[in-house]
Structure formats: C-alpha cells, structure tokens
C-alpha cells in the first residue's frame, strides 16, 4: 500500500539528489538538471499532498505551473549557457570565476 510518507520519501530523495548533483558536478548542464530534480521533487510533493491530505485542485495547479515555469527557466538557463560557451568554449563551472576579483 503506497502512503503519503512513501511519496514524501521519494521526493525528499529527489531533492537530496538534486542538491548533490548541483554541488558535485562541474558541468553546467548537469547543474541545470539538478535544479530540475529539485523542482520535480516539489511538484511531486504537491501532487501527493493533494491526493492524500486535501482534495482540492490547488496542488495540481501548482504542479502544472511548476512544470511550465521550469521549462521556461531551463530555456533561459540554456540560452545563457550557450552564450557562455560561445565566449569561453567551455561549460566547465570553474571557468566562471572572472568576477572573483
């Protein structure tokens, strides 16, 4: 029997994974993916809560919006990454240290 807690467990797992990816990977694309993971964990939460706790549509709407906006954000993010790549010929995060000094 699948309960709320299992959903939450999964979403939390996703969340942690996302964080881990963002911290660990040097590839900017990967980091963007990590962000997606986190967003998804949130979306999953919303869906699960709607299913189990209260039966209005708020959660679903939230999840939908999350998906949409995540797409948009990813698009912009990728655009910026491309621009960065065009300049530096690299998508290595360590190359983004110009502003240190």
């Amino acid at each position: 029997m699948i309960t709320l807690s299992s959903y939450l467990a999964i979403s939390f797992a996703l969340f942690v994974c996302g964080i881990a990816v963002m911290i660990a990977r040097k590839n900017i694309i990967a980091i963007l993916l990590g962000i997606e993971l986190i967003l998804n964990s949130a979306a999953l939460n919303f869906a699960a809560y709607t299913r189990f706790v209260n039966h209005n549509l708020d959660g679903h709407i939230m999840s939908l919006f999350i998906i949409v906006i995540a797409a948009a954000e990813a698009a912009v993010g990728l655009a910026i990454v491309i621009r960065f790549f065009q300049i530096r010929e690299s998508i290595h995060i360590d190359d983004a240290t110009q502003l240190l000094q």
Partner: protein, 489 residues
C-alpha cells in the same frame, strides 16, 4: 468575499496595462529597421505608457483594499504604493539605459521591454496573496532578470553574471518550492486566507514541519532581496551586468521582494506565538547581518558601482529591520525608506554611469575634482551621498529615523544601535566620494558628454525629492499611513 471576475479586472488595470505596454513595445521595436539607432517613438511610448500606469495606480490608492480573483491577489494601498515605486524605478532605469553607453545600442529597446516584464513580475509579487502567485511572481521577475544580467552578450563577465544569477535563482526557487509544498501539505491550501485560518490549531508535529518549510520559503524571497547569507550572487551580478541593469536590480526586485516578505510576515506571523518569536528572531539576525556585511564590504571597494551594490545590500538590511517590527509603523517606515531610496539610488547611479561612460571605468578617482567641472552635478551627488548616509535634513535621515522609530517602538534597542553604528560606517565610504569630488583637484577638464543639459536637469529633478522629503515629509507620511497590509475582511 472576493469580487467576481469583471470587477476583479477593473481593479487589475495597471498590471494589464503594463502587459499591453510590453507587447506594444515589442511591436514598435519590430517596426524599426535594425540600423535605427535612437528610437524616439519607442521611448515616447514607453514613458507615456508607464506614466499612464503610474497615474492609474495613483488613482487606485484612494480605493478600498480588496481581494480579487478569488482571493489570489490583494489590491491594497501598500501593494499599490510599492507598485508605483517599481514603475518609477523602471522608468528611471529605462531612461538611464537610453542615455548610457554601457548597453549596446541595438539592445537598448530590448532592455526596456524586459524591464517592463520584470516590473510586471514585481507587481504580481507585490500583491500576491497565495503561494502560486508568489511563485509565478518570483519566476517572472527572475527569468527576465537572468536575461538582463547577461545583457552584454559578448562580454564574459556579463554572461557569467547571468549564469550565476540563473543557477543561484534556480536552486533558491527550487528550495522555496520545496518549502511551499510542505506548507501546502500542512494547511491543505495555497490561499493565504485559508492559511491564516489554519494557523491557530497546529500540532507540534505540524509546527516541526512548518518551521523548516517557512525557512525554505524565506530562502526564495531572501535571495530576491539579496540579504545575507543569500547575498553572495549580488555583488558579482551587479558588477557583471551593465550599469542600467544594476540600477534596475538595486531597485525593482528589492522593492518587490520586500513587499512580499512584509506581506508574508504580516500574514503568517501577525499574531503572537512560537512562530512569530522564531521568525522575528531569525529576521532580526538576518537583517543585522545583511546591513553589517553590506557596509563592511562596501568600504573595501575601488569601483563606485560595486560600492553602491554593496551599500544597496546594507540598505536592504535596513529596510528589513522595518519588517522585524510587525506593526503599522514598520510598514510605513519601509515604504518611506523605499521611496527615498529610489530617488537617491537613481541619482547616484545616473552620475556614476555618466562618469563611467566617460572614462570606461568607475573607480573612485574618476570623481576627483568634479565640483570644478560640473558643480551642480557634484553638489547633487554630495547631497545624495549625505542622504544615503542619513544626514539630516535630507530624506535619507528621515527614512532612517522612521526605521529607528519602528524599532524602538517595539523596544529593539540592540538592533537600533547596530543600525545607527552601521550608518556611521556607511558615512565613511560615502564621504570618500564627496572628498574626491569636492576637496581633490581635478584630473582633466575635458567635458563629460553624459552631463548634457537634459540629463543635468533630470538629475536635478530627481534630487529635489531627496531634499524636500527631508524637510516636509508629513505629506508622504500621510500617504503611507493608509498603506497597511490588507489581511482580508
């Protein structure tokens, strides 16, 4: 309770107008051919449109507060005022972008368009009354900001700034969402109104879930205000992005963020309880840290832009102190602070940008002897600097005084002391510019193109409030008095 849709729309004109303006600007922009450098009609439209929005909002001030779209949005004097501020800030930024050399000519119009977009996001955020709206608002604000940050396409620093901004924004919004989801889980609704209702009977288990979630929620907002410890992106981004953008960032998103922070605080933590104590404690620590870190960092800077960026962080901290005291006075003082801060920042950035355009960089030395060449500008800059530092009889002092009053009315003596001592520190680096401008000898006499008659007069006009609000501020106080947060009928 909530009005029906048509009625709602009737109260929602400004936002719609701005959308129309944005779309219209896109069309106008499309009409020009790409050789066209200065696009008079475009800017004319932009300014007229924004002025129209502004007027609309002003007219809205007198109307009673209400909730529209089934309570998902609140239209109350507070939100309206903050929207007006955003509009003004946007106009100022757009004008600067028009004049500045820091943006490629072919992108200037795009800047205007995106700015309006960001402004719309801010407006949504300012009157958001449920979690969804908060999310949408923040995202609208952010996504366009990422683009703005990386506006100097071919410049590495700029794109890097955009990169950082976007990644940082991504994680923070993600975490915020995660927090939201749990809040939703506890209360079973995303409507603030329902949440308030649910706040009373909470089990300890729920509280245990709730508090972390709120902190996560706060991360999203704090990142918009750029308060410690979510501030690290700010200096880099401010530095990396072109000057008009920096100007824009240091006004509109901050105001929006503060607006929502204030609304959330007032809504959720309005009444006494464990929640409030924790929240206030956290906020006071954060605000004190923000202010101090901002000031301390600002001292070490060589570039005026970076210095202003850091100082804007510290000012944000100052405004957050108004949030710490959860009462009318705090709200009022924050609004007043925002108003004065708007004008001061605009003038400061204008002058800096014009000087920077002349020399290609904006180091402090570039200002030396300005009084000999452009006495008016130098005096204006001096006034603004003193005002930022909080010297009477300038508006900056009155703003600080209000915040102080709010703090002390709630007997936050330590915070008050920290605040004033910080203003001493800030005076030090603001005075560095004054010293250079007034006391030092001039480097070169060749003219600065930026300081045309038009620009000078505009700067003058912008400085007038800085002076006037310092002496005759009861009018503004009366204006802000009505501007309380509307927590539903």
């Amino acid at each position: 309770m909530a009005l029906n849709y048509l009625a709602s729309i009737s109260r929602y004109v400004p936002e719609l107008l701005s959308v129309v303006i944005m779309v219209g600007l896109i069309f106008i922009e499309a009409c020009y051919d790409r050789e066209e450098k200065k696009k008079p009609f475009f800017y004319l439209a932009a300014f007229f449109g924004l002025t129209f929005v502004f007027v609309n909002l002003a007219a809205d001030l007198s109307k009673p507060a209400t909730m529209i779209f089934t309570g998902s949005m609140t239209i109350d004097p507070f939100s309206t005022l903050s929207k007006m501020l955003m509009v003004l800030g946007t106009m100022g930024a757009i004008y600067l972008s028009k004049e500045s050399k820091d943006i490629y000519d072919n992108l200037k119009s795009e800047f205007a368009i995106m700015a309006v977009g960001v402004m719309i996001g801010g407006m949504i955020l300012a009157s958001a009354n449920n979690l969804l709206m908060v999310y949408i608002g923040i995202e609208t604000l952010s996504i366009l900001s990422y683009a703005l940050a990386s506006f100097k396409k071919n410049e590495e620093r700029s794109s890097e700034a955009g990169l950082k901004y976007s990644l940082y924004g991504g994680i923070s919004s993600g975490i915020m969402l995660f927090g939201m989801s749990h809040i939703f889980g506890v209360f079973g609704s995303i409507q603030f109104a329902d949440i308030i209702a649910g706040l009373n009977g909470l089990s300890t288990a729920q509280l245990a879930v709730l508090l972390p979630s709120f902190i996560m929620f706060f991360a999203g907002i704090g990142y918009k205000i750029a308060c410690v410890p979510f501030h690290m992106w700010a200096p880099d981004v401010y530095e990396g992005s072109p000057l008009p953008v920096t100007t824009f960032f240091s006004i509109v998103p901050k105001v929006a963020g503060l607006a929502i922070l204030l609304r959330v605080t007032m809504t959720f933590f309005g009444q006494e309880g464990a929640l409030q104590v924790t929240w206030v404690g956290a906020l006071s620590v954060i605000s004190a840290l923000t202010m101090t870190v901002g000031n301390v960092s600002a001292i070490g800077q060589r570039s005026v832009k970076r210095m202003l960026a850091y100082s804007s962080i510290s000012h944000a901290g100052m405004m957050m102190m108004g949030v710490v005291v959860i009462n009318e006075l705090g709200t009022r003082s924050i609004l007043f602070y925002a108003i004065t801060y708007l004008f001061m920042t605009l003038v400061a950035f204008y002058v800096t940008s014009f000087v920077a355009d002349k020399y290609g960089n904006d180091h402090f030395e570039r200002f030396s002897g300005l009084i000999k060449r452009y006495p008016l500008m130098a005096i204006m800059m001096t006034v603004v600097m003193f005002s930022l530092a909080g010297m009477p009889p300038l508006s900056g002092f009155v703003a600080k005084f209000n915040i102080l009053g709010a703090l002390l009315s709630e007997k936050h003596y330590m915070l008050a002391l920290i605040a004033v001592l910080n203003s001493v520190v800030s005076l030090y680096y603001y005075m560095k510019i004054i010293r250079l401008m007034v006391l030092k000898d001039v480097e070169s006499m060749e003219p600065i193109i930026g300081f045309g008659v038009m620009n000078q007069s505009i700067i003058l006009v912008l400085t007038v409030p800085v002076l006037a609000l310092g002496l005759f501020w009861s009018g503004i106080m009366r204006l802000t008095e009505g501007a309380s947060i509307f927590l539903g009928p």
